[in-house]
């Protein structure tokens, strides 16, 4: 039986958090392929396979931090959700912010879910694995490539 490979795009400017996420996903049973970009513009270029990202795979799931350099997470979210080719990709807001205005704003922009990063390491790891588990095993995702 062929093991399914899952592509995850993490948009995160804090390398510490990126490493923690990698820690969590590495210990996962699932065969995942984590890609990290550290600002909003790179995220959009990645998703549109522009410039250096012409050969990157299309992600099955996007983990999006909100406070990013250059293009901020809310903007990235708005662009993804208004792009015919990208809007079906589930976007998980994964941020330190607990601010109600962030929660409301991102759901208004059609975020698929909002998760606050736990301070405790084990909880953090657990949450990342839960995200992966939920979105990649439990949820039925749209077909990989949509016709253009």
């Amino acid at each position: 039986m062929m093991v399914k490979s899952i592509n995850i795009l993490l948009v995160e400017d804090n390398p510490g958090d990126a490493d923690l996420a990698r820690e969590a996903l590495d210990s996962s049973k699932m065969n995942n392929n984590l890609q990290v970009v550290d600002d909003g513009e790179k995220a959009m270029a990645f998703l549109r396979r522009e410039g250096p990202y012409s050969n990157v795979p299309r992600p099955d799931l996007i983990l999006l931090d909100l406070n990013l350099p250059k293009k901020d997470g809310r903007q990235v979210l708005a662009e993804i959700k208004s792009d015919e080719n990208l809007k079906r990709i589930p976007v998980v807001i994964f941020t330190t912010s607990r601010a109600e205005e962030d929660v409301l704003k991102t759901y208004d922009l059609h975020a698929n879910c909002y998760i606050t990063k736990p301070i405790d390491l084990n909880q953090f790891l657990h949450v990342v694995r839960s995200i992966e588990d939920f979105w990649l095993s439990i949820v039925v995702l749209p077909p990989k490539e949509i016709s253009k």
């Binding site: 923690l20 330190t96 912010s97 607990r98 390491l121 953090f124």
Partner: protein
């Protein structure tokens, strides 16, 4: 017949005398008496009389005017003469007659005409017989005519005099009336003059008063303008302060956001990687190193809680909603649902009276109940916690109370318990940052109310807070 009666000459002289006499007669002389003596004197008459017609009740009465004590009384000869006089009055023509008696007499009756009317009859008696000559008769008729004219003249003069007198009377009367009128007018003029003077005086007083009022008005206008200017300035200051407040509020919100995101990320790094180190290198670290790492993690965790609590505290005002009419019982219900686990675990009994509908922010009222009841459970005593919530109508506000049978609070800490991050117990005894009551105080104050407690250590505490009924604060 007397010789002289035949001669015309002496009658003409008599006539002239008579005419002179009659034309000179004045109203003050008695005409008839004069005429009688004239006839005797110049016309050889022995006796003369005048008979006048006087209207007395429509009948003609013939009176007589004659010299007194005359020895010859013509009238004594019977009613004959009276009848002749009446005839002359009737016909207007002269008449003669002879009277026979002890002495034969000749009578001549001459009508005296005035204004075409026979007003009198002149009776002339002669103690002789024979006819009267034509010349004598003519002269007598002429004399009679002049007598009539003179009578008319005298009547006219009398009338004139009467008129003059009347006119004089009128003039006198009018003059006196005029005098009175003039007097009255003078008085009136005096009164008017006085009145005008008074008016003038009044006018002057009025002008002074008007000027005075105008001055006062001007002064009050000026002070009003000053007041308006002052108010405007105050308003501008208030506006500026409000804008400043708004700006600082915005900054606070910004700060709160920064605190919720940017301040926590480094903390998470500290805690996560300390934990990762402890786990990854567990076998290479001794107990002491493990303990130190534990402190570091605990510090980071507590720091994060403090930040979150501070954030919650600041959000009471920045995230507060407009006050609306809400059911406080429903707010309590929401608080109790959030506390369900704690209530179940401690087997707390929560009871409440009827709670009113009030003006409040529902979320915040719910949080207020949650914090107070949460504290009551957290600081419970040895007995099962019993918490009762009630509300009391104080007229202008509602007073809520949350009573428990917990460990109580010493009243010396009345102020301290409501201050931010102030705690009365160690973290080992009771967890928490000490934000709960500070948030309660902030919520109550935002609603324009007060919060306080009464307590007896060991027997429980009662927390009170008030909520005004009127719109006061937003």
């Amino acid at each position: 017949m007397n010789e002289s009666l035949q001669n015309q000459q002496p009658y003409f002289e008599g006539y002239v005398q008579a005419v002179q006499y009659l034309t000179g007669i004045t109203v003050h002389q008695e005409l008839w008496t004069e005429v009688v003596s004239l006839m005797v004197k110049f016309f050889s008459a022995d006796f003369a009389a005048i008979s006048e017609r006087q209207n007395e009740g429509g009948q003609i009465v013939i009176g007589c005017s004659r010299p007194e004590n005359h020895p010859l009384d013509a009238w004594s000869h019977g009613a004959g003469v009276k009848g002749m006089v009446a005839e002359v009055f009737e016909s207007g023509f002269f008449a003669t007659a002879d009277i026979r008696g002890d002495e034969n007499l000749k009578v001549l009756l001459l009508p005296i005409t005035s204004e075409n009317r026979t007003t009198a009859v002149l009776v002339i008696v002669y103690r002789s017989e024979g006819d009267l000559s034509r010349a004598y008769l003519n002269t007598c008729l002429a004399i009679a005519g002049i007598i009539g004219t003179t009578h008319s003249r005298l009547s006219s003069e009398t009338e004139l005099r009467r008129h003059r007198n009347m006119l004089e009377d009128i003039v006198i009367k009018r003059t006196s009336e005029l005098g009175e009128t003039i007097l009255k007018l003078k008085q009136e003029i005096l009164q008017r003059t006085n009145a005008e003077a008074a008016l003038q005086l009044m006018n002057e007083e009025l002008e002074i008063r008007v000027a005075d009022r105008t001055e006062k008005l001007k002064t009050s206008m000026e002070s009003l303008q000053e007041e308006i200017y002052r108010r405007k300035r105050t308003e501008e200051q208030i506006k500026a302060t409000l804008m400043e407040l708004e700006r600082s509020n915005k900054e606070l919100e910004q700060f709160a956001y920064v605190a919720s995101h940017d301040l926590q990320e480094p903390l998470r790094m500290v805690s996560s990687y300390t934990q990762l180190l402890a786990q990854r290198y567990e076998n290479q670290l001794d107990d002491k190193a493990q303990k130190f790492m534990g402190y570091a993690v605990d510090g980071a965790v507590r720091m994060q809680r403090l930040i979150n609590d501070l954030l919650a505290y600041s959000r009471v005002s920045t995230q507060g909603k407009t006050l609306g009419t809400i059911d406080s019982h429903a707010a309590l219900g929401e608080a109790l649902r959030n506390l369900a686990t704690a209530i179940e675990e401690t087997r707390a009994i929560v009871i409440n009276d009827d709670l009113p509908t009030i003006r409040a922010d529902a979320t915040q009222l719910s949080q207020l109940f949650q914090n107070l009841i949460g504290n009551a459970i957290k600081f419970r005593g040895a007995d099962l916690p019993r918490i009762s919530i009630s509300a009391c109508d104080l007229g202008r506000e509602w007073r809520f109370s949350v009573q428990d049978n917990g460990i109580g609070i010493e009243t010396q800490y009345a102020e301290k318990v409501f201050a931010i991050f102030q705690r009365l117990h160690t973290r080992a005894e009771y967890p928490g940052t000490g934000i709960g009551l500070a948030i309660c105080k902030r919520i109550v104050e935002r609603h324009g109310g007060r919060i306080w407690f009464e307590s007896e250590p060991g027997f429980g505490s009662t927390f009170f807070f008030t909520m005004p009924k009127r719109k006061e604060t937003a």
